[in-house]
């Protein structure tokens, strides 16, 4: 794995751990839409944005 990839893997991995830890450790008693549901939705959006950035170098000389 390249150096840059390792950094991305660490950031994304931390995010995944937070998807387990935050709702189970900190949001157990928030019985509202802005609790675990909102957290997981924001988590998914963050993953999509980070992956869009991470893969921005996937270009080809080949024509689409």
């Amino acid at each position: 794995m390249e150096k840059g990839e390792k950094l991305w893997a660490a950031v994304l991995g931390t995010l995944v751990i937070s998807a387990y830890a935050v709702p189970y450790l900190f949001l157990r008693h928030v019985h509202a839409w802005y609790g675990a549901g909102l957290f997981w939705t924001l988590f998914a959006l963050a993953v999509i944005l980070l992956l869009a950035l991470f893969t921005s170098s996937w270009q080809d000389k080949e024509e689409e």
Binding site: E2, R28, S57, D60
Partner: protein, 497 residues
Amino acid sequence: MQPWQVYLAVGLYLTVTTLLALAVRRGMGHGVEDYFLANRRLGGVISALSYSATTYSAFMMVGLAGLTYKGGVGALGFELIYLSGLMLVAFFGPRFWLAGRKFHIVSPTELLAIRYDSRTLGALAALAAMVFLIPYSSVQLLGIAYLLEELTQGAIPFVAGLTIAAVVSLVWALAGGLRSVAWTDAFQALLMMVAALLAVGYALASLGGPALFVERLARQWPEWLSVPGGEGYFQFSTFLGLSLPWFFFSLSNPQVAQRMFTPRSLKSLRRMLLGFLCFGLVYTLVSVTWGFVARLEFTDLANPDLATPTLLKSGIVPPFVALLAMLGIMAAAISTIDSILLTLASMLARDVYRGLRPKAPEEAELQVGKWVIPVLTLMAFLFARMKLNLIALLSVASSAGLLVLVPPTIGAFFWRRGTAAGANAAIIIAGLTVVWLQFRHPVWLGQWPGVWGLIISTLVFLAVSLVTRAPEERARQFIDELNDSLREHRRAAACLR
């Protein structure tokens, strides 16, 4: 819902999709790569829609909605953690794509066979995938048959529904290989999304709008908005047991892993990934909302899987929306089955048949692949017809069972010391353990079979690999040379920008 309306709608949907499957055959070549991989020329948008339709089965609007009904918002977390597992494609996608072109690899199991220099490994991995994926397909067929029977009050009997689903899966897979499957998938993905959005939109409107819906939910079912949720269903071990196998789905399930070979460029691969992620987020939110609607409408369903059929029959959405939602669920199931059939056929032709007869001509391999598709369909149909408990069990075990392929797949690109003996031992030992646990101890020491499958597979793969001889040249080709190619692509991309 009148039976004639269902017949008309199903007939129209099947006719349009079959015509599409036949139309895209034009211009198709004759080789194995052309048939099973659409000649590695799929565009990004079609790839994204097809990946979505292949991944998302009837589980979403039926099973996930049911899980939400039963346990609440934990269902959203589990499914979005699955979605985040697509980050693996960001690391493995370009490597699969480059290796596929370099070695003319057709299936993910062939990738293992070439990387670890062992035909036995390819055949073993292909057979292991078959053991889990045929029952999984049978359960999808069962789902369609039950849904049609339930919604038409028996006017479309169980066997008729089963036959319709099996025949169209077969026809679409056979018509033009991946070309037909990808285009029909794309159409069906749009159908799935439109149907689900309309159903949820109408349901929310009839409940007084989103604000009132959320307010009622918080007032009547507050526990369902946090974990562990309703009746404590989503205890952490359950949540981990459900989400962990799914996190690795993009690598463990060959019908989606194979899609990393098919885009025509890295740019198309990126569009596939990001397009799928956006589709998946919306479809997940919609399916979970649908489950919450059921929670508000019905307080005491005996079986959570009945949440969707009961909602569709309840009159909360107009009949045409209920009909469309039913088609959407049917499309979700069939688009998953035909992709699985095609991928399994490619694996049996390439990894088993060609593994046994390496000098067989390409035409013979293709013929075997085409003959295998009806056989696999028949097997899935017969298993579904028999309604055996074993089939349901193997289907449940499929996501956990296929996890045993993950450590050798990761090792293929990131660990030089990995060996065929290590991969073979991992697949056999961990695979049998998962099936045994699923039968005897679905929860052992507080953990689900998938968690044990992954741990055992990793340990066995590492231990056996360390005491056997690694294929050094292949390791160099798959690790060093692919890294060099990736660097070149990045440099070229920087120049393009």
